[in-house]
Symmetry: C2
Subunit: 323 residues, 2 copies
């Protein structure tokens, strides 16, 4: 059914849009380790793209802003891809519609690629699938990958942490700033955008964000996140946003190196955990977890004891009889 | 420093508020397996409390609603505890303030216990710490444990899944309904509350939620989530909310049994994964993960390959030389 990873990887490296789409689908559909051969084949060809996360509460005009960013970035001759990450529910369908709108505008441009990532059923694995999809686009030769998320929750924070730079979009008069602070999204912003700059309250919003920034511990790598005003519907402020992102990229090289190490560490740890667990499941008799859970429900044993008994099935060669 | 688990457990079982507070602090501060001896000692004495999650977007009046629920539940003679789960940021401090307000009102009542759970630094472990804290309160003899969360994100969904029943609070005119749908929070609601019933748009909100419910697959266990109107500030509708929760509890026994099994299964699997990983870390030389991550950053190996090499250090007795 699926193309062999090596053939598919070759077509991705050649920039074939259908191969790129198929590669991302494989990553989305697969088990945690499903993307391994494909990512392994593409990995040596990655590391060039600038991955920019765009996050903020729903209704903040992120999609329109990303659309304007595409136009600005294309104007400089760079190739740009967008991953629109939307925790779909049966009632939403927003991602598909958003894609269509954007696809129409940029459909004729072969150097723009827009893809929505369905996250339903991949709880916890969202940052992995997004990260792997960004690798595919990087390998395919896109200079910039914009990762757009919906909402401000833990999902969004984790996705943002897979990016080289993170833009947090706020709008005046909605209490977004408070919500963003609560969700811990302030801490991950490299650039703030106060969108809908024509609205009342824009200056108050900028001031409250700047006040919050000034309360933060001294900025990582010497970069204080600026607060830019934009009007996504007219495109006002968008070239300045892109210029700021380019400046951040130059200025933040030492910061990015430490982020890349931290990101790779988190990634390797998570994947190792998944592989270990899969190995344990193969070693245990079928239904072992369900029986342990039933024992917990019946109060015959507590969950910690049950987990210890199950985990004892895998041992290191150096452990001599230690359970 | 910390009291020995058995002595502390005895005082928790006797309902000593200071012991309860200390037990929850131990769970909050501890490593994933830190709560093990305490939870193990308390576990046989749990399973009686009715754990109710209350979630919804910030600003929906959840805290006020929970405060009114305390009064209603106390009016029936039951003992009630509240866990206010707030993803604190350096700028927030909201939980502390909220607690003080409520503590003042119920301070004289020894059968009310209110506690905020700081979640900062416990990403991913929030549902575990909340679940363990609810066990402590259950063992201490509280009949009802209200778990109040801030916002609608993956965190909140996971916390809600540790409860026996979940109330989702929405308010008119804020687009909350859309946001809740996007975040997948619709699917976890057993009861909807349209709060601020005096506001314009309340009927439209109720209709849109009822329409969304009618689009869902046939309800689990034959329970269709009702949509109740409340005015938390006056207490209007709150006795009906509690009556509905009691009815849900009676009607949903088969559903709750299957939920408890699913919840125990998820819990045992997560704890087992943590224990396995800790065992691997002990088996590896210091810095092994950091070196693997550096290899990934340098593009010498892809993260999947690196993870496979690390995970190969733990094996099952039955595996003969398989790496």
């Amino acid at each position: 059914m699926a193309a062999p990873p090596d053939a598919l990887a070759g077509r991705v490296l050649a920039g074939d849009p259908r191969a790129i789409a198929r590669a991302i689908s494989q990553i989305e559909d697969g088990e945690p380790s499903g993307g391994a051969p494909l990512v392994g084949a593409l990995f040596p060809h990655t590391g060039r793209a600038y991955v920019v996360g765009v996050t903020g509460v729903p209704g903040g005009g992120k999609s329109t802003l990303v659309d304007q960013l595409i136009a600005t970035i294309r104007g400089t001759g760079l190739k740009v891809a967008v991953l629109a990450v939307d925790p779909t529910s049966p009632f939403s369908g927003g991602a598909v519609l958003g894609d269509r709108v954007r696809m129409n505008r940029h459909a004729a441009d072969g150097d723009v690629f827009v893809r929505s990532m369905a996250t339903r059923g991949h709880l916890g694995g969202l940052s992995r699938t997004t990260g792997d999809a960004a690798l595919v686009l990087d390998a395919a030769g896109f200079d910039v990958v914009l990762v757009e998320t919906v909402g401000v929750g833990q999902d969004e924070v984790e996705v943002a942490q897979t990016a080289d730079a993170t833009v947090v979009v706020l709008v005046p008069g909605t209490g977004d700033d408070v919500q963003a602070m609560k969700a811990g999204i302030m801490e991950i912003a490299d650039v703030f955008v106060a969108n809908k700059a024509d609205r009342d309250g824009i200056d108050r919003l900028v001031q409250s964000v700047e006040a919050a920034i000034s309360l933060q511990p001294s900025p990582e790598g010497g970069w204080t996140p600026p607060v830019l005003k934009t009007e996504a519907t007219t495109g006002q402020g968008v070239p300045e946003l892109w210029a700021t992102l380019c400046r951040f990229r130059e200025r933040s090289e030492p910061l990015r190196a430490s982020r890349r190490q931290a990101r790779a560490l988190a990634r390797v740890r998570a994947l190792t955990g998944e592989l270990l667990f899969a190995r344990l499941e193969r070693a245990l008799p079928p239904g072992a977890f369900a029986r342990a859970a039933a024992g917990v429900v019946a109060r015959r044993q507590d969950p910690y004891r049950a987990a210890q008994d199950l985990a004892a099935q895998l041992t290191a060669p150096s452990e001599t009889g230690a359970a």
